[in-house]
Amino acid sequence: MSRFTDLFMGMLGAAPKKPKKISERVQKIMFLKYEDKDRYIKEKLHARAHHDVSHKWRNRRWAVLIATNLLFVLSFWLDIQLLEGSLTASRFAGFHLIDLNSALQIMLAHKHIIVNLFIGTFTVFLLWVLLGGRTFCSWVCPYHLVSELTEKLHLMLVDRKIVTDHEFHRGTRTVFWALFALLAIVTGYTVFETLSPTGILSRALIYGPGLALGWVGLLLLFEVFYSRRAWCRYICPIGLTYGAVGSISPLQITYHVEHCFHEGDCRKVCLVPHVLEVTVKGRASDETMGLGPDCTRCGLCVDVCPTGALRFEVKGLSKLL
């Protein structure tokens, strides 16, 4: 299987595999790293000491996320008509933008496609192919932001041993994706939209709060007390749809094994730590490697890594520069 297929299967839920072949370059790097243990440890401590905890990407991301959602809200409230609609479907300066997953649900339920829907879907498709599919998750989705905040509460409770984190199988999300698609076909209703906290929050922000926020609250409680980031990790089909689209995106986080000390700080902060499996010692087969399509490009790992082993990069472009 090609690496692309492996990563794609990983997004669907398959467990990460050890590489079959490790390039000579990498073998040499690893050898050099551990040749002189003392020097390695010294370097590691040195790198740590110099790393001030950065929130560069997080702050940028929060700013973009809040600004996008605010633009929706203000467009309606102040009637500036720049970004009309909500996250499921909107119009930006007249151009149709339609969320891929919502469009899919509707086509399956309604069994009919109309031109505007198609155009809007295409625009969004192109946008996320360029930016990397799951970029939507961490840079736009309002539920991502609230659950990122409540995650801190969860981690604190785990830290004090008040709650334990329960993991589900990552393949569950793939099952959900298929089930919601099936339900749309069979029932003729967009069943997923009834529960989607993305749609609910987006509409609540723009058109005012309602009972549906109670459901979002319950979800958050489940995540705080039972399972870390459960909705985004194991359920949300939107993330999977965008992940699939973004798998061909040129924008990605790349990993440079040479600079890595294999401590795993990145995996601790990540929403989808399986994409960071390459950072485990012996798991990288090439000197630089793009992360899997499930990566939301949130940049938390980039911020946390003391050596710059993880970077935002555009495929092919870094070679040109």
Binding site: M1, S75, F76, E84, G85, S86, T88, A89, S90, R91, H96, I98, D99, S102, A103, I106, A109, H110, H112, I114, N116, L117, G120, H166, E167, F168, H169, G171, T172, V175, F176, L179, F180, L183, T187, G188, Y189, T190, V191, F192, E193, T194, L195, G199, I200, R203, I206, Y207, G210, L211, A212, G214, W215, A230, Y234, I235
Partner: protein, 283 residues
């Protein structure tokens, strides 16, 4: 796969603990799946047990098609100049985020001049013309394009609307002021009423609150007077049981079901109401 390594030797049998853990994880995951899917299917309850259908915005597809095709974006909400359109909440089940109109609170008075909500809808849930494979219910089709009273003097006085969204009905003739032979003076609705309407003689482009437009009429005819569609309703004489001749509002074929009569009726509760999604039946 073409692999000729002794694969089994590489992979030791799973320890009992590990197998147990995997089993537990699987069961938990199955439980989560069942719970979430189960919860989502609760959305059926409000949809199938709804006693009264909801008034949908102009151009809406038949109810089940409407629910399946609406992407719940609210663009129809945003363009409506009188904010007649509201979105459903969780208690509407699958109808969460789907638009409807509560005519008594705020009717669609076509202030926009052009059924803009249809224009705004990206999915064809609201549409000028239904695609061929969707059926048109008998009596839903309007005999002719409705003539908008507000546009009567324009070159194009009609409204691009093919099907009605409901039909008005004098539900409580006993409380109708016209039937009682009474006039009406003052604000059509109580002072706190927030509903708006376009009054052509005040401002064609800006709807004003109904409470800022008091009436003084010798015989109540508010529903007829404010109906935005030409010849959709008229006051006609009837002979009562006592043999006295009275006037009564009579709903006619061009009625599109916009709900203005229900909103403006000064009787409390309204004497005239919209039967949402009802079709025209010759009396």
């Amino acid at each position: 796969m073409s692999e000729n390594k002794p694969a089994p030797a590489k992979k030791p049998a799973m320890s009992i603990e590990k197998a147990q853990k995997a089993r537990r994880k699987f069961l938990h995951s199955a439980g989560l799946t069942g719970a979430v899917i189960g919860l989502s299917l609760l959305g059926y309850i409000p949809v199938t047990s709804a006693k009264t259908p909801r008034l949908r915005p102009p151009g809406a597809l038949n109810e089940s098609d409407f629910l399946s095709s609406c992407i719940k974006c609210g663009q129809c909400v945003q363009v409506c100049p009188v904010q007649a359109i509201k979105l459903g909440d969780l208690k509407d089940g699958f109808g969460v985020g789907v638009p409807h109109i509560d005519a008594r609170e705020q009717a669609c008075d076509f202030s926009c001049d052009a059924v803009q909500c249809i224009l705004a809808c990206p999915t064809g849930s609201l549409t000028y013309k239904k695609p061929g494979f969707l059926n048109i219910r008998e009596g839903a089709l309007l005999a002719a394009a409705p003539i908008l009273k507000a546009k009567e003097k324009d070159a194009e006085p009609t409204l691009n609307l093919k099907e009605r969204i409901g039909v008005a009905r004098l539900a409580r003739p006993e409380s109708c002021l016209a039937v009682q032979g009474k006039g009406f003076k003052g604000e059509a609705r109580s002072g706190s009423f927030k509903g708006k309407m376009r009054y052509m003689d005040v401002d064609r482009w800006k709807p004003i609150p109904v409470r800022e437009h008091p009436y003084d009429v010798p015989l109540c005819d508010l529903c007829v007077r404010e109906c935005p569609v030409k010849d959709a309703i008229a006051l006609k004489p009837v002979k009562g049981a006592d043999g006295v001749e009275r006037m009564t509002p009579v709903v006619l074929e061009p009625c599109v079901g916009c709900g203005v009569c229900e909103m403006i009726c000064p009787a409390e509760p309204a004497a005239i109401v919209i039967d949402a999604q009802a079709t025209w039946k010759e009396a």
